[in-house]
Symmetry: C2
Subunit: 540 residues, 2 copies
């Protein structure tokens, strides 16, 4: 027997209408070269309607993919809403990929139109000739680019009516967004979000124990809008009427921290590498961060030193969240449960550096090599599997890596232990594990320790082939500028010896200028492994 | 084209499993005559499994309705979860109704079993002989009641296995709960909740801008579990792992406030009448309310004096919410938006006493007598209509009042104005309106003013027939104890004259001992109107 509740279909339209009806005066702010661009949700709504009208005029039909190739800015936000609100699919494309990857992704997605920032035109020129399905190029600017046959966004929408009526989204399971991940082997793979998944994920982000986004917030995710929907912030912020702040391409630590100060940002989020850079800047310059109430960190493990730094110096909680493109992305968050608040600060910290407990709606388990569920004892290790209404059930239009979706669970590729309190701790990526003489060594644990060392700016630990032990850990570190001339490797080794079993200690420390980064700003251990594949271990 | 997200079905089972997996040490606390009963969610889970097993053994099948007739206590909470978790329907029955209404409701619902508190056995005896479908009576106690052929809950579940496997809820739209409302004309009518509606409503309650329920909370809704699922608190609290506190039948103001103090309650909710009683008690006795962070008031309009009292004396925000059994119940909440925070305290108060803006997922409009949408100008009046995934689309098994569900909207019966900021203000119930000489008078506005008068404890304003004006307002007031001997009606009239247009002023003030209350504790204006139907207006 069915309940007798209304069949309301959760959709991006509902979010858009809510922002316009109840928060019309709240602002969307975008950094520009000549001062910040600001307008209200009321203005935003009018432009979204014009844009929706334009999309229909361009022949975009329900289900069609429309590509965006842009920084975080208000026009990108307009596309975030207008494309799904006419039933089409918002395909956010990673601007940091190489031209051949971009060609593959856009052709695979079969994008019908491509919207791009004028500053990215040189990159678009590289792959535009190879695109097979794109019928319209639109440059997100006042001025067209003839060379690319790209029309002006502003001119096109200025010609559209403001009284366009959005077609109704009649099925919440309709596709609404598409994002390719290159975190897997083989070709980049598309994750196809639905209106339902976006709506539920937005609600979850606003729950008090998740990120608690609310109307009074001024949100600024330092996460690209081409990366897992900027962690869902643009949709969730509109749902609750929060002010949204966008950095455009001004993404240096000083730009970011100035914008946070200037626009009184209350909540921000990003990968640790961004915050390592900001911490380095804060060592030398003062900024007023009194409005910031929460820094959410995800993408890689958070060093203790970062949590302590912002807590002690600014009284701002750094909260770790875990997720993937395949999980929309919120999978889990390292809230400290009230029954743990009686523990010492140090013991509480041991929970705060874990990946936390799953978000509402998300379920977890971890399985060992035999596919058996591991015990939640904090010791046993297995691959983390998740399921939930905003977790992918397959990749878009490919049979590659179908084995990741099995028995209704998605296999994340993260090797974890789960403690009796239910906290997930990622000990490694399945492909990052170091197996030395038959024993596992967690590169992640070593990296967390290294990043907490006062003289180290960046660190990554990789497995390098070894004659005797099959493979052994190599630590690659970037010293802080003040120590770059006089960095003592032996000191680092001794520091690690005080924390880990002898056989965990890297056989060598390599001092380098920068750890290579992935397109979404994480340490790129794949490239690091290639760099050091022929590394000669010191003798003895 | 559909998205490629997992088809996770939102269900009460997901809430139950989450509470057990991630919050097993958190407590459920119930006041008892001999000290408070306490156990953990881990204990709770075991008992829910036994109870689920019992229900199956009793022959309860998916879709079957199972009645509960009980106060707020841990066994009732077990039923809240066990019944929907085997696919059956939790039918919470209002213990304050008369025997013939109860007979009607239970027969209409076709309850297959009835669980009741031992203290309510005398009432059950009155209607038990007239029940047509109930096959099993179970008394929520250690001891059976032979006279009623009622078996002992504790004995029955002690015989059940603890490793019972719950059948999977495969469709989130399955019915999960049933609650009858007597707020309409004609027979009581059933509202049939689904697993989906309960889950979404639970998430919404936990959103920061709604009630922000979280793991650290200790919740105590002073709302019966037979009334709109105790405003959703039992489900939402379990979802986030909050500690739950239940008063059982100890419902006097002193009982309530002592339990809040003793169990360090952080969030509570109830109708204004309960809080008027508590305020009267707080005038004479001191209690420690330092843990209380939020009082949610709904069911009737909140007097300014109550908001001010708790704000000034205890620094506790009193937040008004609006809803109905038909809306699960959260419809709207009177959050003060950040763009209003620059207004004076008095102007902000004018928003806090409104019913607020709709919850996420809920949409609103108001229509005039011609069915035309009214303008959101704060002046125009119309009947409030709502829609959303936890709003009823029809009543259970009846065609009565089908006209309330039209065009995908539910007509609430509340007459409202909506201001340009989107705040709903209930100016009256359609059936409570006073129309004097062709002009509308809001009984609610008059009541709010009266309840803020320092000498008045309770107040209700009703329409009474009048020769010249068709009808005129009559104010019925209960003075505070200190003023009961020397209450000056003229002073009250002058007080109202300072606030309202002359033609709004009641033609008479009646001093009475108590305003009659409905079964859910609201002022019963229907009974008041009957009491005064032959009232003789004073001459002149």
């Amino acid at each position: 027997m069915h309940g007798l509740m209304m069949d309301t279909q959760l959709s991006v339209q509902l979010i858009l209408e809510r922002a316009k009806q109840f928060f019309p005066k709240k602002e969307v702010i975008t950094r520009q070269a000549n001062g910040n661009h600001r307008y209200t949700y009321a203005d935003f709504y009018q432009r979204v309607l014009r844009l929706a009208s334009l999309l229909q005029q361009l022949g975009i039909k329900p289900g069609d993919r429309v590509g965006t190739f842009a920084w975080n800015n208000y026009r990108h936000l307009e596309l975030y809403f207008a494309i799904p609100c006419i039933g089409a699919v918002l395909h956010t494309i990673n601007i940091r990929l190489a031209a051949d990857q971009l060609t593959y992704i856009i052709n695979h997605a079969e994008d019908q139109a491509l919207f791009f920032d004028p500053s990215l035109a040189p990159l678009v020129k590289q792959f535009a000739p190879h695109l097979e399905t794109v019928k319209n190029f639109i440059v997100m600017d006042e001025i067209p680019i003839e060379e690319l046959n790209a029309q002006s966004y502003e001119k096109l929408i200025s010609e559209q009516p403001t009284d366009f009526v959005l077609p109704k989204i009649t099925d919440e399971n309709m596709a609404a967004g598409l994002c390719y991940t290159s975190g897997t082997t083989g070709h980049p793979k598309g994750v196809l979000y639905s209106h339902r998944s976006i709506y539920l994920h937005s609600m979850a982000i606003c729950m008090a124990d998740m990120m608690g986004l609310c109307e009074r917030d001024r949100t600024f995710p330092v996460v690209p809008m081409f990366h897992a929907n900027a962690w869902g912030y643009p949709f969730a912020s509109a749902l609750v009427g929060a002010t949204q702040v966008f950095p455009n391409h001004f993404m240096q630590p000083r730009d970011i921290i100035q914008l946070i100060e200037q626009e009184k940002v209350t909540v921000t989020a990003g990968v640790p590498t961004i915050w390592l850079g900001i911490m380095a800047l804060l060592e030398h310059e003062n900024f007023n961060l009194e409005n910031l109430r929460l820094i959410v960190i995800g993408g890689s493990a958070v060093p203790v030193s970062m949590i302590e730094y912002f807590q002690k110096r600014y009284n701002i909680p750094v909260v770790q969240a875990w997720g993937m493109t395949e999980t929309s992305p919120l999978g889990s968050i390292a809230l400290v449960k009230s029954n743990l608040l009686s523990l010492s600060d140090e013991e509480q910290m041991s929970y705060r550096v874990k990946q936390g407990i799953p978000a509402a709606c998300v379920q977890i388990r971890a399985v060992d090599d035999d596919g058996k569920e591991i015990e939640w004892n904090g010791e046993a290790r297995g691959e983390l599997q998740v399921r939930g209404p905003w977790v992918a059930k397959s990749y878009f239009n490919t049979t590659e890596r179908a084995e990741a979706f099995c028995d209704g669970w998605f296999s994340t590729g993260d090797v974890v232990a789960i403690d009796p309190e239910g906290y997930i701790a990622i000990v490694d990526r399945t492909k990052d594990l170091i197996k030395s003489g038959g024993e596992w060594i967690s590169s992640v644990d070593l990296e967390i320790a290294l990043l907490s060392h006062p003289k180290i700016q960046e660190a990554a630990v990789i497995a390098v082939p070894h004659e005797k032990w099959v493979e052994r850990p190599l630590a690659c570190v970037v010293p802080k500028p003040a120590y770059s001339e006089q960095f003592d490797k032996e000191e680092v080794i001794n520091y690690l010896k005080s924390k880990f079993a002898p056989w965990w200690i890297p056989n060598a420390v390599e001092v380098i200028k920068e750890i290579p980064k992935t397109s979404v700003g994480k340490f790129d251990k794949k490239r690091l492994r290639i760099m050091y594949q022929d590394f000669q271990w010191p003798v003895g």
